[in-house]
């Protein structure tokens, strides 16, 4: 699924690095705990999280994540947005809860990481 399609499904707003519309997302992982994220290979994976700070970006960088959904209507600050751009990570901001976002994406065919 394209990043723009994901954004549309969860009524999200694209911020951070411009979305690469050739990037195909197949899997998702939801967590607010960064060391849990760091345990897995994040190829073709979108991270769904309510953690909205620089550490979300650093963890995504180390995990080679290209796209992160920020749920629960959390607002990234300027510094986080700059970091996202610098690291070439697209953020999708959504008002929906993590549960709702996960349910919608699961229903649309995104697979769980495990």
């Amino acid at each position: 699924m394209k990043i723009s399609e994901i954004a549309k499904l969860i009524d999200g707003e694209l911020v951070g690095a411009p979305a690469d519309d050739t990037y195909e997302v197949r899997k998702a992982f939801a967590s607010d705990l960064m060391s849990d994220v760091l345990r897995f290979s994040m190829e073709e994976t979108v991270l769904i999280t309510g953690l909205c700070n620089n550490q979300t970006m650093r963890t995504s960088e180390m995990s080679d994540l290209r796209v992160v959904v920020i749920g629960r209507d959390k607002q990234p600050d300027e510094e986080m947005l700059e970091l996202a751009e610098e690291l070439d990570i697209t953020l999708i901001k959504s008002r929906y809860s993590i549960f709702k976002i996960s349910g919608i994406l699961y229903g649309a065919g995104i697979e769980p990481l495990y």
Binding site: S35, Q55, T56, T59, E61, M62, D64
Partner: protein, 137 residues
């Protein structure tokens, strides 16, 4: 190639900068992606631990043809029981550290999993030195 970084106690705004610099250097050197991922995940976890659980310290990274050696040395409280600390899920992270997204108790197990050699030297009340080696294919 040798790199040195200072880590500052509690500075979560800049936490991960050392690991980020090392990641860029490894990419530049043309190291394979799997080794890069293992190296930076291990270094990042150790960097965060020195910021979250200790009072900052210093990171030394040596890269040569065959291996990457990373030493993260902190001044801090030390680890009273390493066996316990190595267990998945065991954490003494403060509420502030949890707010930053850490405290799953997965950091040290992640380091173990991603490195070929891991040595933890620690003394209660003095500090902890974590030495990690990744062999390059």
């Amino acid at each position: 190639m040798h790199y040195t970084f200072d880590i500052e106690r509690g500075n979560f705004a800049d936490a991960g900068q050392a690991s980020s610099s090392v990641k860029r250097a490894l990419k530049h050197l043309g190291v394979d992606p799997v080794s890069i991922k293992r190296t930076v995940v291990a270094l990042f976890e150790a960097e965060i631990n020195a910021i979250a659980h200790a009072y900052g310290g210093r990171i030394d990274v040596d890269i040569d043809d065959g291996k990457i050696v990373m030493v993260v040395a902190d001044q801090g409280p030390g680890i009273p029981n390493i066996d316990l600390a190595m267990q998945e899920g065991w954490s003494t992270a403060s509420p502030q550290v949890r707010e930053m997204g850490y405290g799953a108790g997965m950091g040290l197990p992640n380091i173990k999993k991603n490195t070929d050699e891991l040595k933890i030297e620690t003394e209660v009340g003095v500090g902890t030195t974590v030495t990690m080696t990744v062999y390059l294919a």
